[in-house]
Symmetry: C2
Subunit: 334 residues, 2 copies
């Protein structure tokens, strides 16, 4: 038994390094942490909180404003716009399939969806609340939340911990299975066009999938340096190295320009591209990646084939009921 | 026959002037203009456009941002926040049941929902698009809209006229029937509490419903002067007369401080109150109205009874599917 497992591991390791990529379909369910099992009540509450602009200081910015569930899970802007029309330096990552990220944020500074959900609410340039105590105090003025938290968590349940647990439980439902790629991997050989299959093989051959690996094409939580090869022309154009990535948090020189490997799922819907949203089109993003990560100049045909393949990673978006947000009771919140 | 009709008219006129108010339930369907009959395709397209922030210059403000369909049809703010964090001087009216308004905007400057929908998109402090030509050009870059407009209107259909028709068709579905008041009027005498019935009778007796008349309590498109009785204390506190209302558009002295009579449907959900959103609570709004419109000081009991009645005007919000917005195709829109 031990021998067989070692052999399997060895083959898997070889597979991940070779052209014969281990192509995996997207799971339809995400694992739940032991301390936050999903329930319908928690998911419904999380959906309300996620779409509620009253979680921001001005009452105008919800989680969904920048991570838009009606779009590709973000806002198609280089940098999102927070309260008071402020913008940061990074591009909002998609919320779709974020349950399959091992770490959250571009610099991976949150290990869980729960930890991630706590961040933007009190970020002064995002949702701008002074503190989670203020958020909790505001939620307590909205009677419907008193009821919804009680149904999800029991008595006296309006807390930061429960709010972020509910949001995370909702986010775990935001999965987009059944892309043409998934159908192909599951055996429907007509699901991809000849060009898409060429692009898929090219992506593996070039080495794209050695980092963008696994079912979510996100390297299962790995970090990579970006760019790895300096290119004066592209740097002058896109300013990739202005942001030090993980080092902005860790303050360690060896972490400079390391970023979480982002998912390629639904990447055709999430322009513009890269941590700073500096590249407007998917074509250019593919060419840039080949150049600064792999040291390769792609031909137009190669680029087009890979872009065609990336378009096959657009999944099916589950139909969602629009949440009815608990009413502000005869009084404005801010 | 003529005699009978005259008699009916006379009785109706008497009724509208007397305490015996003609209480009407909210219709469940809104009339459609002859040149814009509703179809499922048009409504679905309108729902997408209504929720699409890409109709604003920055890609951050949708119709739904200020007229939030997940809330009481507006944003619970004194004044809404447009692109670049700009605010105007008026409070966003609710979109729910706006199909039953005879005129739109606080100053009634749009006669139809179609005409209203054209306004905010190019208002520099609201959605900030330079022109509808720019809006149309942008929509044409989004492939899914090409398809959706074709399904709703036929070939080469992306135009300002069709976009506003689709939005209006969607808005005509935003009706909240079956409030406790509606159930009461239809014969369920247990639908209102004793206090709510007292408040209902008091509202008619005081004269509230002589302006807030009809099924939507909006005077069927009438305009009224507000305030009619000047009150130095309240004016100093709430600055009601800073906004000249209809006269801001007509520039006629006789229109000064005239406003559209707003609906009272779901009024408990739409704090803060009045054209400038200056009054935070429904209690205070009721007291102010009695004072500056009817010259009456209400007791606490009278106020509480009327507020209880107004809470009975909160209807049932139809469950809506969240629209999936057509994808930005590998390129940001702004």
């Amino acid at each position: 038994m031990l021998k067989i497992r070692s052999l399997v591991t060895a083959v898997a390791l070889l597979g991940s390094m070779s052209v014969a990529n281990a192509w995996e379909a997207l799971p339809t369910q995400a694992a739940e942490p032991a301390d936050n099992p999903s329930t319908p009540e928690k998911i419904e509450l999380g959906k309300q909180l996620y779409h509620d602009p009253r979680l921001s200081s001005t009452g105008t910015v919800a989680c969904a404003s920048c991570h838009n569930t009606m779009l590709g899970g973000e806002d198609n802007r280089p940098n999102s716009v927070g309260v008071g029309a402020q913008t940061g330096g990074r591009s909002a990552p998609t919320v779709w399939n974020s349950a399959f990220n091992k770490v959250q944020f571009w610099d991976g500074r949150a290990a869980t969806l729960e930890a991630q959900a706590a961040g933007p609410v009190t970020n002064p340039i995002e949702m701008g609340m002074k503190s989670w105590d203020d958020v909790v105090a505001r939620l307590k003025t909205i009677n419907g939340y008193e009821v919804a938290f009680k149904e999800a968590f029991g008595e006296n349940a309006i807390t930061k911990e429960n709010a972020t647990k509910a949001i995370a439980a909702y986010e775990r439902t935001l999965i987009t299975p059944n892309s043409p790629y998934d159908k192909f991997v599951k055996g429907d050989k007509s699901a991809l066009s000849a060009q898409q299959i060429r692009g898929m093989e090219k992506a593996a051959e070039l080495g794209c999938t050695s980092c963008h690996s696994g079912a979510a094409f996100n390297g299962a939580g790995t970090f990579q340096k970006f760019p790895t090869i300096s290119d004066g022309f592209l740097e002058a154009k896109y300013h990739f190295t202005k942001d030090k990535g993980v080092a902005e948090v860790s303050k360690k020189a060896e972490d400079e320009h390391f970023f979480k490997v982002p998912t390629l799922r639904n990447v055709a819907l999430t322009a513009p591209y890269f941590h700073n949203g500096s590249v407007a089109t998917l074509e250019e993003a593919v060419k840039v990646m080949a150049k600064v990560q792999l040291g390769k100049d792609l031909s137009k045909d190669e680029t087009d084939d890979i872009v065609a393949f990336l378009n096959a990673l657009t999944g099916e978006f589950p139909k969602q009921t629009m949440p009815t947000l608990p009413a502000t009771s005869g009084k404005t919140v801010n």
